[in-house]
Symmetry: C2
């Protein structure tokens, strides 16, 4: 059966725009001879629409749009994601739904059964799970009995999921009810390594049930989340038969083989794009996330403070890749502790990238602050106050450029800094998007090297990559005056933040006890800064922000011994 | 039966400290001759512990604490809130639990059945609901069969809840299984008017089932949430027989009448404190929330920018009430557009409150910024950029004081401003706590008048209450140059934000179409500012912050016609 996988990039809340996109994909799928076109989860409203879902009018608007689309479906079937109302008088008022559209009307519906509530997901906030009556989610398309499912419905496989969160397995139920083909509409955000896991999971289930799978994922950036696309067709033997593009819209048309055995001779059923992996996938995710955040927020250009260091260089390089060099302005703001090379490296970066560059020394403002505060601070030693002040002058200058010229300000802090609070609130943390705030420092270096290698020339100055990291806020300062080496810091971070290991466990892995305690203390105490941080693009399994919800006023004392 | 209601103020995550508090209340309850002492929901870890719950060691620590407490329970029964592990291999890994402790051990457990996932609640993120087997949640205490329940378990009453979110009603189930007395351990945050609703709800259920209720609520501020306490005993006829203090710790000891009929002659079973209502309750909530945030974050003093206006005056007055006037520093920061009365009113406020005062004119820094930016901005008209710059100079000066002297900076914006974005990110939005960011401007005035009336003297200068609101960031500016009158703005806000009404519905109520559209547009477009705002104390049914989760990069176009 020829199926089109409409891997679209919706804008959250833009029902009219998403509707137009659906109709465009529909026409192209029909032109390609597809019998069925499948759209991602909640394609009409975009994922995640969050508390827009609490507006009754928003739900009405989305239902009206579904009706308008249905009226235009002829000569092809379409599976479209939308929000339905729960017709029952008790229970949460909405369903996360897909409709099967045919001959100008709605001929079938499926309500998502498994609702994720971990990490960045909040689906129980809005949705009532669909009833676990698998036969109701079977639809006949041509000669084939298809099982409809939505994203998480696929993610409760006994063989692949170490701790299953749900008591049902809708995929097994659909199989037992007679499904010959599994259709899954998804909005599964990017995390490095996740698509590899998806392929294993999907293959496992396809093999287990002898049931091919059509998996259609959303693509595009929505606030913190970047959806990688990577839609696939898996045959009944667990082989990948078609693989969509990653990190861009795609209409993947495939002749899906039905039946347990898989396709004869493993002939691809459609295009087979190689999915990006590792550093390349992080790069693509950041570029797409940045581009879409700027675009979907209604901006056209960005401004970045350039310190001559690696973080701001990487951020500027990503911005130039995402928006084009003509849309990026870099600003060097040397202060009294700035090194000679800071402005030179910033200038060189701007030249390499071809972005606009300007120079705004902070000394005059810095001194004016000092004079204003001199009387009040008389007799007190310089401390973090004076360091923060310089960062805040820079933040205010960048915001002035943002306000005056309409550029979105990008902040440039990495995950390691944000974790331990090695950053200044209302200073270098200023900005509308924290592009690399989920990228650990060691990965920042990897990305920078990868970018130069990939470009075949020095985009990010080698000196920015090689120099000893410093905030340059006091004489001869380096990051390692305050922090352990980044290799150590990032390893502890990974274990504490991503893996939820306690200090005892981390020390047992061979890390120095005092270092572990001090890093954990810094992380815990910096929660108040992160609460006021700009949204950052999620690329790891646990990013700061929406998927990590920590109290600020708390006093958990973690001992090295387990309780 | 004599029961002690241990209305305690835990610190989130501070298991050792909370444990010590439990033991202290336990001893006092025993000394008062109570047969049973009941603690609030999750009393060992504090509510809400949020993602601390994802740390396996945190769960272990809390279980160990429960064991230590159990070992010390003799001669009295105790119901204590804690986190249990889900012993089943499938399902979310934790339970929101209470244990019945007796004779040095754990003799009963109840797992919360109804898990709220709306507004500020995220319980499905962590917990598996308890099984709906009511008889398992019955415990025998003395001669009485008691039903154990936790907070939301009470909140699914058919008569009182317009749209029931859950299919079960654990309270009815417990009644049918033979409960003679309902015990409810709660952590129910303050919202103005909520305790009045609680009393109606509790009475309704007690009457319906002829079953008295012992309701023990947490008290204290935890980040955005303020728990009001207000623990009560309701008899089987629905009468309030004892009422604990509001907004402070309390051990409420009551001789609870068992049986359908209610207490003979309505004799109170214990103390009957009158719960605060309306403005008085908002005042108490803000004072407690502010005090606890400062204290639980490890600060001892605060700094507030004083503009001479009503918002900063109210914030300073609340701070003085919460912490004592010796712990508050007010800073006037006049600029070139500041009125004569701004400094005079700020000074007068400081005198009235007895707080420290200092003066830091912003002109020198402001001019230094202008010189620094002059070349870049040449030929461009002054706009919002120049206004924001002044606010940012003030923000940086206040942060310098915070850094240098260890004061927590309080921000002073109200809900109306934050709603429409009439505030400067990294300027007046700087601060660790936004004390009145859930208080609409019209309520700000009410609170200010109430404070003066309650004090019997002018604490907040009458001129600050009476003056025309202005940000004083350009010549002769007033808030109403940009915004509709606050009475109108707040009415629209209430409907749009708290009641989720669409523009069509609001216009249908008689509000001007253009005003409604423009206010809604301002609200929607300011999401990016609120994302970076300091936590604010929730007092309304829908506060910005954790309980309102809006996408930033979105494009929902709301028409006046319903879809």
């Amino acid at each position: 059966m020829r199926i089109a996988l409409a891997q679209m990039n919706p804008t959250v809340g833009d029902i009219a725009g998403n509707c137009a996109k659906v109709l465009d994909f529909l026409a192209r799928a029909k032109a390609a001879g597809a019998k069925l076109v499948v759209f991602p989860e909640l394609s009409l409203v975009g994922y995640p629409a969050k508390d827009l879902l609490l507006k009754p009018q928003f739900i009405n608007d989305n239902l009206a749009a579904l009706g308008r689309i249905a009226a235009q479906v002829h000569g092809i079937d379409a599976v479209v994601g939308y929000v339905d109302r729960n017709a029952q008088p008790v229970g949460r008022p909405l369903h996360n739904a897909v409709a099967l559209l045919r001959d100008g009307g709605i001929v079938g519906r499926h309500f998502k059964t498994l609702l994720p509530t971990y990490d960045v997901f909040d689906e129980s906030r809005y949705f009532e799970p669909g009833p676990a009556q698998a036969h109701k989610n079977l639809v006949r398309i041509g000669d084939v009995t298809c099982g409809l499912s939505i994203c998480e419905d696929l993610w409760n496989d006994e063989k692949m999921i170490p701790r299953r969160l749900y008591h049902q397995n809708p995929i097994a139920d659909l199989h037992h009810a007679g499904a010959q083909l599994m259709i899954n509409a998804s909005a599964s955000p990017f995390v490095v390594g996740k698509h590899e896991f998806r392929l294993e999971l999907f293959s496992s289930q396809a093999r287990q049930f002898g049931q091919p799978l059509v998996y259609v994922n959303q693509v595009g950036g929505n606030d913190e989340l970047v959806f990688d696309g990577n839609s696939v067709v898996i045959d009944g033997a667990g082989n990948v038969m078609a693989q969509g593009r990653d990190f861009e819209e795609d209409l993947l048309v495939a002749d899906v083989p039905i039946g347990r055995g898989g396709a004869a001779g493993g002939t691809p059923a459609g295009p087979m794009h190689a999915p990006s992996r590792g550093i390349a996938s992080i790069y693509k995710a950041l570029v797409l996330g940045l581009r879409d955040y700027v675009r979907k927020c209604g901006f056209f250009s960005v401004v970045v403070g350039l310190s001559g260091g690696i973080d701001s260089a990487l951020t500027a390089a990503l911005a130039a890749a995402a928006l084009g060099c003509g849309k990026v302005t870099g600003v060097a703001m040397p202060g009294r502790f700035s090194s000679e090379h800071s402005v030179a490296d910033a200038k060189k970066l701007a030249q390499n990238l071809g972005i606009a560059f300007c120079l705004l020394p902070i000394n005059a403002v810095h001194e004016a602050y000092e004079r204003t505060l001199a009387e009040l601070f008389a007799g007190r030693q310089p401390d973090i106050t004076e360091e923060n002040l310089q960062a805040r002058v820079r933040g205010a200058l960048l915001m002035a450029l943002s306000n005056k010229f309409g550029h979105l300000l990008l902040s440039t802090g990495n995950k390691s800094e944000l974790a331990v609070g090695y950053c200044t609130l209302y200073g270098d943390m200023c900005g509308g998007l924290a592009v690399i705030s989920d990228v650990p420092k060691t990965t920042v270096w990897e990305l920078a090297r990868w970018i130069n290698q990939n470009a075949g020339r020095e985009l990010i100055p080698q000196s920015s990559i090689d120099k000893v990291p410093s905030a340059e806020l006091r004489p001869n300062q380096t990051d390692q005056d305050t922090l352990p080496p980044y290799e150590i810091l990032d390893a502890i971070l990974q274990r504490y933040v991503e893996e939820e290991k306690g200090p005892g466990e981390i020390v047992a892995e061979g890390y120095d006890q005092q270092t572990v305690s001090s890093v954990i203390r810094m992380i815990d105490r910096s929660e108040y800064k992160r609460r006021q941080a700009a949204p950052g693009l999620k690329v790891t399994s646990r990013a700061f922000g929406f998927g990590r919800r920590m109290p600020i006023a708390q006093n958990y004392q973690q001992s090295l011994q387990d309780g």
